[in-house]
């Protein structure tokens, strides 16, 4: 459905997010909160899927890229914003400035993606995972020690610019960019790199180039997701972008099925709703209280059984050979 008319899909999705944003104030704040997190997780999971799924590079650095974008965008609106915007700036103008801040955040994260990508291109599998993991730690340490960015306490009092329109419009753009790029003759280069690097090189495909592009674009959208996240929670600290956050995103990609964008979107929705659902269930009656307490346990059991029963991902229905590896 998407592949036939990708541009129509994008347009419809943008209009839909505009409508959502317009009626946001009529919605229950709790639902807005959950939906926002769903949207941000879609951006993160779909962009990580480009690196981990389509291109087959195992990155654990997505939260790191996210934090780069979050801090940059927050610094733009907090520190530069008051100088750039007039005191009584219109909604349109602040919106525009927010967009600029998000873009700068994304580009900074993309630059970080390029820097991490370059030395990592010689590494494969576990080794690459460790390098990206190290990158995440280094970024966290840097933010913890830069006083102007709040040190370990992080930044507080970020403007509440994020709304459903921004989140879902950008989620739609992320899905469009990744899918449109991969579903072209050009994009077969990512999959070829994933499948067999030696054969890809022998077919004239520069795997270095495709890996770099995947890292840069993946990091770009992670950075934008970070910017949205910061202007949604209104406070960011290095702890919010730790190893666990990266793992959460990796899990979404694996549950959705590596390289399967639709599946990864479903997984992002499901895994954002799951803790909420468990919490609600635990609140129904005192006899169900244990569900709330053993949430991490249930989560782990779910993951283990998934890997045993459906290693190709929960939402991967394609009859593809990839499922067998």
């Amino acid at each position: 459905m998407f592949f036939a008319r990708p541009r129509t899909f994008l347009l419809l999705a943008l209009v839909a997010s505009g409508v959502l944003g317009f009626f946001q104030n009529q919605l229950d704040p709790y639902y807005v909160d959950v939906m926002t997190r769903i949207g941000i997780n879609i951006i993160l999971a779909v962009s990580l899927n480009l690196i981990n799924g389509h291109t087959g590079q195992f990155s654990l650095g997505h939260a790191g890229f996210m934090s780069v974008g979050a801090y940059t965008a927050a610094a733009m609106t907090m520190f530069a914003g008051p100088h750039v915007l007039p005191a009584n700036a219109s909604v349109l103008l602040t919106g525009l400035w927010f967009l600029v801040a998000l873009m700068v955040g994304g580009l900074t994260a993309a630059a970080a993606g390029f820097l991490v990508g370059l030395p990592s291109l010689r590494l494969k599998g576990d080794y690459l995972a460790i390098v990206t993991l190290g990158f995440g730690q280094i970024i966290a340490v840097i933010f913890r020690n830069v006083e102007p960015l709040g040190g370990a306490l992080g930044l507080n009092g970020i403007a509440a610019y994020t709304n459903l329109f921004w989140v879902f419009a950008i989620a739609a753009i992320t899905v469009y960019v990744v899918t449109a790029m991969v579903n072209s003759t050009y994009g077969r280069g990512f999959i070829a790199t994933h499948d067999d690097e030696v054969a890809a090189e022998a077919m004239g495909i520069s795997t270095t180039r495709f890996k770099t592009v995947a890292f840069v674009i993946g990091a770009f959208f992670a950075g934008i997701a970070g910017g949205l996240y910061g202007h949604f929670t209104l406070t960011i600290s290095p702890r919010g972008f730790d190893f666990n956050r990266s793992i959460e995103i990796v899990v979404m990609v694996i549950v959705g099925g590596m390289g399967n964008t639709m599946g990864v979107i479903f997984a992002a929705v499901l895994l954002t709703l799951l803790p909420e659902g468990l919490r609600t269930l635990a609140g129904v009656s005192p006899s169900l209280q244990w569900i709330g307490e053993s949430r991490p346990l249930l989560y782990s059991i779910l993951l283990i059984s998934l890997m045993l029963l459906r290693p190709q991902g929960l939402f991967n229905f394609r009859r593809s050979a990839r499922a067998k590896i």
Partner: protein, 259 residues
């Protein structure tokens, strides 16, 4: 004399104390069908890896299309017109037959990220042209009916042919075939021999066949170079090679006396 496509000049490579290939001279002209043979461990695969840029020669020159090629990476060599197949089939496992070939048309497409994202008319036209080209190639090898099948689900012989189609999609001037007859039965081998001849005539390319299977090489190659312990011990037409005492001693001895 046809133009010179590949030229190895006094090429040697040493791994530690072992000289795997020593002072090798080899030329391949355009549209030539050359065989490279030798017993196990003679250095055939090493030569293959030298030509394709996997190894750098310790000394000597390799030039492709009159340009030095030893420092080029494999994907750059392919861009210059050198394509290869693999001894142990290396198709793109997660892609279907069509996409396996389409991926290899990469280097001749003018459409990059921008066109893929914009999806304008020129992009759609270009993609349609690529599709037509790929289908045409598949049809030549009677693989078009498998278009949407996962590449790895094809029968063994078809997988080998698909690998050749994929290599052809890069529009090579020289095609290197690494033991294409490995694991084939006599009927399949006979078909392969026909196919290789057909390839050369239809696509007007040069072919270097690195092969174990003696009858196959003797049957189709115009010129044969024989390696033993990293040294070229003979070169000539199949008839000359068959009569060469050094070759017989090194390799063919029993087979020929039996026959």
């Amino acid at each position: 004399m046809s133009e010179r496509l590949l030229h190895l000049e006094n090429v040697s490579i040493r791994f530690g104390g072992l000289t795997a290939v020593s002072e090798l001279n080899l030329q391949i002209g355009a549209h030539e069908l050359v065989g490279l043979i030798g017993p196990n461990g003679a250095g055939k695969t090493t030569v293959f890896n030298l030509i394709t840029g996997v190894y750098q020669p310790t000394s000597g020159q390799i030039s492709f299309d009159e340009k030095p090629s030893a420092r080029l990476k494999p994907f750059q060599l392919t861009k210059h017109g050198l394509a290869r197949t693999f001894q142990n089939i290396r198709l793109f496992a997660s892609m279907n037959v069509f996409d396996n070939v389409r991926a290899a048309t990469q280097l001749h497409r003018a459409r990059g990220i921008r066109e893929a994202l914009w999806r304008g008319r020129s992009f759609r036209k270009g993609e349609a042209a690529t599709e037509a080209h790929v289908m045409e190639l598949l049809a030549i090898f009677h693989l078009e009916k498998f278009r949407d099948e996962p590449a790895k689900s094809l029968p063994y012989g078809d997988q080998r042919r698909l690998e050749i189609v994929r290599a052809l999609a890069t529009r090579p001037k020289l095609l290197l075939l690494d033991e294409p007859a490995a694991g084939m039965n006599p009927t399949e081998k006979a078909e392969l021999a026909k196919l290789i001849r057909f390839l050369r005539d239809k696509f007007q390319i040069a072919i270097l066949l690195v092969e174990h299977d003696m009858p196959l090489v003797m049957q189709i190659c115009e010129r044969i170079a024989v390696l033993d312990y990293g040294v070229k011990i003979a070169e000539g037409t199949p008839t000359e090679i068959r009569a060469n005492p050094r070759v017989i001693a090194a390799y063919l001895g029993e087979e020929l006396t039996d026959a």
